[in-house]
Every structure is written in structure tokens, then in C-alpha cells.
């Protein structure tokens, strides 16, 4: 099977112009866990039940206007690389790959998707560029209503939506933002911020690209508690806290530049030089330079690039994407060659 996605680019949702707080916040995501009342949860259900769930969700999706251009992708029909492509695009996760009869329903712009038979029967997901928690929640909420018109969800008035794991029960909602905080890392304020945020009931973790080391300046912030608070309250809280973090990050960036602009500019222009000329780029090296270029956009030092272009690069230079776009399985060094080539080409393209 070939994936019904445009592999030249990332999901169209990532390319939208003018993402709110896009200088600091890469994306917002809201995921809802839902289960059908009449079936056991996926880790216990037999094949017949898993097939029935998959069919029921596909049928429900077909009736939703919000998914009218969606593709249904059955995971077991994909090659390993194709599965990995979906992971790199944040459409599925490792757990869905390990599920026997999983599928993902992906709307054409890839902002909306539904994982079927992951830990729960449904994981309904919406993504938006920048800080847009409340809008993202509204979108996922409407899709949930659409699907519920056909599906009979497992719900109890006292404890809310029933999920396989009690950590998700209640709203079943996991809302997160991906933030880029080079200023707070460089000025060593990051520990203080991470401590403060974790005490506000949010979890923070390093964000991983390829390999085992997290990308040092990217963090994912999400709600820990899913029960006893309303959805609006949860997303509103994340949005407000993230806005505060963003303003601290901007202060740090301004301070860095006023304190030692030569050093800041040197790092940025070195990154620019390397990315436009290197012949071999490891994922780690590429990611750190692309991260530096996000600052170049912020400081208005390089006018040929935009934050969206860089956000896209983060996805396109990952291994499975490189393999698919070159049409074959690449070894590590071949990937470094392909990665360097893709970055050179992209950074020479003039923005529209």
C-alpha cells in the first residue's frame, strides 16, 4: 500500500501562515480517548471485536462532514517505513503499530485524525500550528459530537468517559503544546520554569527527534489530570501558562541579544552556512542548526526563511520521510546525504 499522503510536504495544517505565538510555540494538540460501550478495551478484545470496532468507527467517520475527505489507513497493511512516516507526522504512535488490528483515519489536511484500537477504541486528535489550545479543543469537540451521533460511547455520569487506563478517565482528554525555549535554556532559567510548571499540574518532557537524545530546546507540556476538571478549564489553563512561558522566553531572547549579539549572530549564521552547504548531516546536527534558524527568524536576521518552513523541515528530515522520498531503504550514512541534500534544496527556495 502507498500512503495517501503528500510526501513532498508535511500535513497542510503545518503550513498555515501566522500561527499565534509561533515564535515560541510550534503546535497545539488535543486528543480525546473514547471507547465503545459494548466491547472490551483493545488490549483484551479478540480479533472479532477489534474488527467490529474498526468497522463501526469507519462507518461513523464516513458520516461526519468534518472527515469527508479522510482516508482510512489500516496499519497492518503498511510497510515498516510507512508506519514510521505516520509516527513522524504525529498521526500514530508506537502503541498503535503494536496493535493487531489498528487503523488511523486521517482528514486531508492531517490536522484531524482518529486512531482506532490503540490503548482505547478511539483516540480523536486535532492539531493546530502555534498556541491555539482553545480552538483545537473546539475542533476535536465537534468531531467527537459527530462521531457520537453514530457510536455508543462508554460513559458514566459519575466518572465520565471510561478508558482502558484510569489515568485517562473523566474527560479522556490529553492536551499538549510543543514549545521551543532556547532562550530559557541558554540563560539557565529552564529548571525554574520546569519546576513551576510541574507544580501547576502539568507534565513536561523533552521532545524527541530521531535517536535517543531529546532535542535540547524543545519541550512538550501536557495536562496530567483528566478527571474533576472541565475540558475548557484544562485547555484554558495550558494556554495561559504557555503564554506566560512564551513571554519569559522572549524576555530571555531579548536579553541574550542585548548582552552578546555577536555570539548570538555567530551561532545563527554558522548554522545557516552549514545547512546550506553541508554534504552530510546527522539528524542531531541538523536539528540543532534548524533550531538556531528559528531564532534567526525571531531576530529578523535572515529574511529568506519562515518559521513554517523550519517546522516542516523538522518532519521531512526524519529517517522514514527521507527513505520514502528517495524511494528506497537508506543506510545511516545515505540518510545523512539525503538529509543534507533536502535541506540545501529547501533553504535555497525563495519563500512566496
Amino acid at each position: 500500500m502507498t500512503l495517501p499522503l503528500n510526501m513532498e510536504n508535511t500535513g497542510p495544517w503545518m503550513r498555515a501562515d501566522g500561527a499565534p505565538d509561533g515564535d515560541v510555540v510550534v503546535s497545539s494538540r488535543v486528543r480525546l480517548a473514547r471507547n465503545l460501550a459494548q466491547h472490551a478495551f483493545p488490549h483484551v478484545a479478540n480479533d472479532t471485536a477489534l474488527r467490529a470496532v474498526r468497522q463501526a468507527v469507519s462507518d461513523a467517520a464516513e458520516r461526519s462532514k468534518m472527515l469527508k475527505n479522510a482516508h482510512v489507513i489500516q496499519i497492518e497493511k503498511l510497510s515498516d517505513i510507512e508506519k514510521q512516516v505516520l509516527v513522524e507526522r504525529h498521526l500514530i504512535n508506537q502503541r498503535l503499530i503494536e496493535s493487531k488490528l489498528g487503523s488511523v483515519i486521517v482528514e486531508r489536511d492531517e490536522a484531524l485524525s482518529v486512531m482506532v484500537n490503540e490503548e482505547d477504541h478511539l483516540r480523536i486528535q486535532a492539531m493546530e500550528p502555534g498556541l491555539a489550545m482553545i480552538d483545537t479543543w473546539r475542533v476535536v469537540d465537534s468531531l467527537d459530537n459527530d462521531l457520537e451521533a453514530t457510536l455508543d460511547y462508554a460513559f458514566r455520569p459519575d466518572i465520565g468517559y471510561c478508558t482502558a487506563c484510569p489515568t485517562n478517565v473523566g474527560t479522556g482528554m490529553r492536551a499538549s503544546v510543543l514549545v521551543h525555549l532556547p532562550g530559557l535554556v541558554e540563560t539557565k532559567q529552564i529548571d525554574k520554569v520546569l519546576k513551576a510548571v510541574s507544580h501547576l499540574g502539568l507534565a513536561v518532557r523533552g521532545f524527541y527527534g530521531e535517536g535517543t537524545e531529546p532535542m535540547s530546546n524543545f519541550f512538550q507540556i501536557s495536562n496530567q489530570i483528566t478527571l474533576s476538571r472541565g475540558e475548557e478549564e484544562i485547555v484554558d489553563n495550558i494556554e495561559k501558562i504557555t503564554r506566560q512561558i512564551a513571554s519569559k522566553e522572549r524576555e530571555a531572547r531579548k536579553w541574550m541579544y542585548s548582552e552578546d549579539h555577536l555570539h548570538v549572530e555567530d551561532t545563527i549564521f554558522r548554522a545557516w552556512g552549514i545547512l546550506r552547504h553541508a554534504r552530510l548531516l546527522s539528524s542531531k546536527e541538523a536539528m540543532s542548526h534548524v533550531s538556531a534558524l528559528r531564532l534567526a527568524v525571531y531576530y529578523k536576521l535572515i529574511h529568506d526563511i519562515t518559521t513554517q518552513m523550519l517546522n516542516e523541515l523538522f518532519v521531512l528530515i526524519q529517517p522514514a520521510h527521507l527513505c520514502v522520498s528517495s524511494g528506497k531503504d537508506l543506510q545511516a550514512e545515505e540518510r545523512d546525504v539525503a538529509r543534507a541534500e533536502l535541506i540545501r534544496t529547501r533553504l535555497r527556495m525563495k519563500t512566496a
Partner: protein, 175 residues
């Protein structure tokens, strides 16, 4: 920040657990998170295993007879639930209700749902609209206190519209 468990590596995962109003910070490196089984393949975060790991604490109190409890639909036993931290089917919520409620309080600080209700559950639609109005009223107060009168007027219109919809349709109203 240093990992609080091994005190060697850089911490990459940060969260706090609030149990009985006592907040415990966790700042863990990747290998400690893996040892505690809260990080899996592809660096996915599995907080539920931390909760499964909390179970041994509770075990001495639990009488042996209780572990014979099994779900009539999926067959999951109380022991199985404690080992995996996962339930087998929606019915399990009824079967293990007495064990679940304290656990939910431990995880979430409360065991009462105050969020969305499915539309089809009788008054569900109306219930959700009422919650929407409550939220808009909060926004309205905030807008007024910040002297954003244009926004306040807009919010007031939204509230009026929802109220009139609720009146005209009686109850269930899908947007």
C-alpha cells in the same frame, strides 16, 4: 536539572504527583523513567505504569478475599488490574468500583467528572450548553475587568444566542 532518582543524568521528564494534598516532584532522566516503566519505545510516556507501581503500597491493607473479584464481562481479576494498571472493559468500572474510587482520587485528586457529557444522554446536549454559558459568563467578567468592552459585547451576544436556542429547542441541541 539533575535526575532526582539516580542523581547522575540530566532529568528529561518533569511532573508532580499530588496525593492527599502532598505534592511530590518527579524529575527523571530517561534511563530511570525506563526502569520505572513509565517510558516505552519511541519515548512514549506511560504514566499508568507509575500508578501500577503504586499498587504494592496498597496491597497489605487489601484483604486476600478481595482479590477473587473478577469482571463478569471480560474476566479481569483484581490482581490483573493491579499488575497492569489497566481495566479490561467498560463494565470493569462497575466491578472494581470500590478499588477504583480511591485510586482515581490518588491520580486525579478527585473522583468526580465535571466535563463533557455525551449529547445522546438525555439532557446531555442541554447540559453541555449550560456549561458553555457558564464558561462564557466567566469570560465576560474577565473581559469587563480588563475593560475589553468590544469583546464583552461579543460574548454577551453569544450567551444570548445559546440561551434562546435552549429555550426554543427545549433540550437536546446539536451544534
Amino acid at each position: 536539572m539533575q535526575c532526582k532518582r539516580c542523581k547522575k543524568n540530566e532529568a528529561k521528564i518533569h511532573f508532580a504527583k499530588i496525593i492527599n494534598n502532598q505534592s511530590t516532584e518527579y524529575h527523571l532522566c530517561e534511563s530511570c523513567a525506563k526502569e520505572m516503566n513509565i517510558m516505552g519505545a519511541n519515548h512514549e510516556f506511560h504514566l499508568e505504569n507509575l500508578i501500577a507501581g503504586l499498587a504494592p503500597d496498597a496491597e497489605p491493607e487489601a484483604p486476600a478475599a478481595e482479590s477473587k473479584l473478577a469482571c463478569p464481562v471480560c474476566g479481569l481479576t483484581s490482581g490483573g488490574f493491579k499488575r497492569t494498571g489497566r481495566l479490561g472493559c467498560p463494565r470493569c468500572y462497575e466491578t472494581f468500583y470500590d478499588e477504583l474510587i480511591p485510586l482515581l482520587r490518588k491520580i486525579h485528586g478527585s473522583s468526580h467528572h465535571t466535563g463533557k457529557v455525551p449529547m445522546r444522554l438525555g439532557e446531555g446536549g442541554a447540559h453541555n450548553r449550560v456549561r458553555e454559558i457558564k464558561k462564557l459568563r466567566r469570560d465576560l467578567r474577565e473581559a469587563i475587568s480588563q475593560e475589553e468592552y468590544e469583546r464583552a459585547a461579543h460574548i454577551r451576544d453569544q450567551i444570548k444566542q445559546i440561551e434562546s436556542e435552549l429555550k426554543s429547542t427545549g433540550a437536546v441541541n446539536e451544534s
